[in-house]
Amino acid sequence: MASSPKLNSKIPEGTIDQKWSKYRSTVHLVNPANKRSLEVLVVGSGLAGASAAASLAEMGYKVKVFCFQDSPRRAHSIAAQGGINAAKNYQNDGDSTYRLFYDTIKGGDYRAREANVHRLAEVSSSIIDQCVAQGVPLAREYGGLLSNRSFGGTQVQRTFYAAGQTGQQLLLGAYSALQRQVGMGAVELCARHEMLDVVTINGVARGIIARNLITGEMEKHFGHAVLLCTGGYGNVFYLSTNAMGSNVTAAWKAHKKGAFFGNPCYTQIHPTCIPVSGDHQSKLTLMSESLRNDGRIWVPLKKDDTRKPTDIPENERDYYLERRYPAFGNLVPRDVASRAAKERCDAGYGVGSSKKAVYLDFAANTERYGKTEVAKQNIHNPSKEQIMALGKEVVKEKYGNLFDMYQQITGENPYEVPMRIYPAVHYTMGGLWVDYNLMTTIPGLYALGEANFSDHGANRLGASALMQGLADGYFVIPYTLGVYLSDEVSRMSAEKGKADSIETLKTNHPEFEKALAEQTALITKFLTIKGTKSVESFHKRLGLIMWDKCGMARNKQGLTEAIAEIQALREEFWRDVRVLGEANEFNPDLEKAGRVADFIELGELMCKDALHREESCGGHFREEYQTEEGEAKRDDVNFAYVAAWEFKGISNWELNKEELVYENIKIAQRSYK
């Protein structure tokens, strides 16, 4: 199989461990004086966006940052809980750049690009250094050194953390770096702004159209490069662990302007989330994977066992992950753990009133911690209560905020009874196709963090999203952007003084006017349909189709049906949606209408991608393709490629393939047994 001529991944020459270092020392640079006249638009202010914007402004570029929230600090990276991976080997347990690289490729079920992943592993260590220098209060040991814990899919302790609020602390670090540049006038902040389109001139990205969400004003912004750091699209499922506002609009509009969409069907279903409690449910809440360090997952051995979990004795419990995967136990990767939970629940062993939940139980490890504390504190002949009380203190320190959150939502005390958990949509590995430079198929348009497809293959390992977002923003884009912008400098110099040049016209260019008119017309259209059904109701219906037919398990018939149902839903949406209020005011319902319209189109592409990929890999599980033991069965002969979809019109896409070549890691059946 050869890659499509439309896709040039621009992977540098050389051995895997030399590609990035050689590239960094030989790429074209932009001199400081020229940087001052180059404008970069950064859309999204999460880990990738904030770190990129701050770093580029420090280098001297003129940067504008856009976010739809009221402050860049609210981006959904803030909600990441468990930790961030880095190959520091501080624990002396055999970690290395190569091992992080290997774990990530294997965890991604051999569907990620080797060169990108190796670079990620290489820069991981610098991320921790950078964050600590900013004053991010990561967890420490008593001796003052940084603390680590384990995450799924690895056998080393390489995860750095700040209680269950690692994303918050890392984002606030990047946010403070960003605000420092705002204060210095190097970054212009456009909060409560939503990007509605990318503006291309002769196929090259030259800026964006954004709506001021407070006044409704439609704005044109020029940029020599546009960086989409807009996160993932999990909200296509309606219920997910994403924030309510998380959306695909920026990426989707870019897709419709020519950016190929990579592997849209690769969705991560996270195994440990609080189960749905009723029809009113608006979102799902994750219980961090870090809990699997100390929580044991089980269901009763008997079907429909209605006893309280604490009344079920040890020998009548099925610790099914420990049983099926003795080597990794409760720390198997997310896709494996999610499917195993679904399998038990589908077989009738689920717990709770919905029977769609399993237990995550901390009793055994609470007792273990209690015994350690008892020994530390020289307490002789402690009572069981004393041991458990001390153990609970340790558990509280590690996961206190998660336990509190669980109790708030469910009304149950997880220190006393096991948590009930079930898988939920959490992350999307797919995203805009990018080359090694993180550039999409539209020159000048980049995608960073979860918005791109690049590093996690078909399944992301825990604590790697924070790593990738910050790697892209702090340590990759500052180098790779220069490759493109150094050419821009030559173009600008050649065009200097010409009346009709891009540099002279900037946002007065007719293409900006055209894009502005199109987006304004779209807003008017939403408001004039005056149908009978709310935006929310369409979103819910889309979510149900996606979850039932393009969720944890997929098959040909379901996907075919889903495509037809989504097409019908789209037609109904444009005929019968009801959006009230006005265009020139703060109008959250109108904002949501645009996002749902884009989700509907994306949903169809996800199903199309899932249908065409006739294999199972990572988070993409096709029921027709599984081993006798129910594990995902890849087809490396026919599907070892990135599916990059080119938009050709509504319901019309062309598939382009990027062949995945494994030169350093032997491609093999994943085993966590």
Partner: protein, 254 residues
């Protein structure tokens, strides 16, 4: 599921409606029936908004995003208390099991000169971003850092710094304060960095700049009432304000 036991509530809601920052606002009364006690407060608002839309009435604008109590976007003033009746809980994590059948619930936006109302229950908290931009950081450019373990930090200092850094900048402290003071917010950031070795170099400059910006934004003065601490969903301690005052004295004297 949960401990709601399937109980359903009938409620009267009095909600603040205001077209924009310049318009005059007023309360609007709504009746809601059959609200599950397992719902979150914002899910109850979702139900209300769906009802309004079905009646061809404009939905109530309110800020919210993560619905996990961490982004700091939600901001309702419920029955006279920021984030409602429960201690250490954001509005999005408040659940209807905290209310009783037949309750009347009054919902207002944050009220502070420094937080102008945008529409209905949504306010503009840009002042907080500007305070951070004035000095709430360590001036370190990307790529200059030493190995992270070269900086040893006692666990107690790291933990205390983290407790201050847990602030979500929701603005409940300002809304709770009779003076509309932002001291708890500012002191949390000052403390986080003052407690760490990385924050020492700019320690004095930082506190002076941040307090100056806070004053310029129109926040009121602190009179040590403690309402901020009582209402803070993240339990940011009043001790941070004491530390800020010490930092101010230290910085002003030299």
């Amino acid at each position: 599921m949960g401990s709601g036991n399937g109980e359903l509530l009938n409620l009267t809601l009095k909600v603040w409606r205001q077209k924009n920052s310049k318009a005059k606002g007023s309360f609007e009364t709504h009746q809601l029936k059959g609200i599950s006690t397992d719902m979150s407060f914002l899910e109850m608002f979702d139900v209300l908004n769906e009802k309004l839309i079905s009646e061809n009435k404009e939905a109530i604008a309110f800020d919210h995003d993560c619905r996990e109590g961490i982004c700091g976007m939600c901001s309702m003033y419920i029955n006279g208390r920021p984030h409602g009746p429960k201690h250490a809980v954001t509005t999005c994590q408040l659940h209807m099991r905290s209310f009783k059948n037949g309750d009347t619930i009054i919902v207002e936006p944050w009220r502070s000169i420094a937080f102008p109302v945008i529409k209905d229950l949504a306010v503009d908290r840009g002042a907080f971003d500007r305070i951070i931009a004035s000095g709430g950081y360590v001036s370190v450019n990307t790529g200059n850092a030493q190995d992270a373990n070269n900086i040893l930090i006692p666990k107690t200092a790291a933990d205390e710094s983290f407790s201050a850094a847990a602030c979500i900048a929701c603005g409940a402290c300002v809304a709770a304060c009779k003076n509309g003071s932002a001291m708890l917010f500012v002191s949390a950031k000052v403390s986080q960095l003052a407690l760490l070795p990385q924050g020492q170099v700019e320690r004095k400059e930082r506190v002076l700049k941040m307090v100056q910006q806070m004053d310029e934004e129109g926040f009121g003065n602190c009179t040590n009432t403690g309402a901020c601490e009582a209402e803070c969903p993240k339990e940011i301690s009043l001790e941070n304000i004491a530390r800020l005052n010490r930092e101010m004295i230290g910085a002003s004297l030299t």
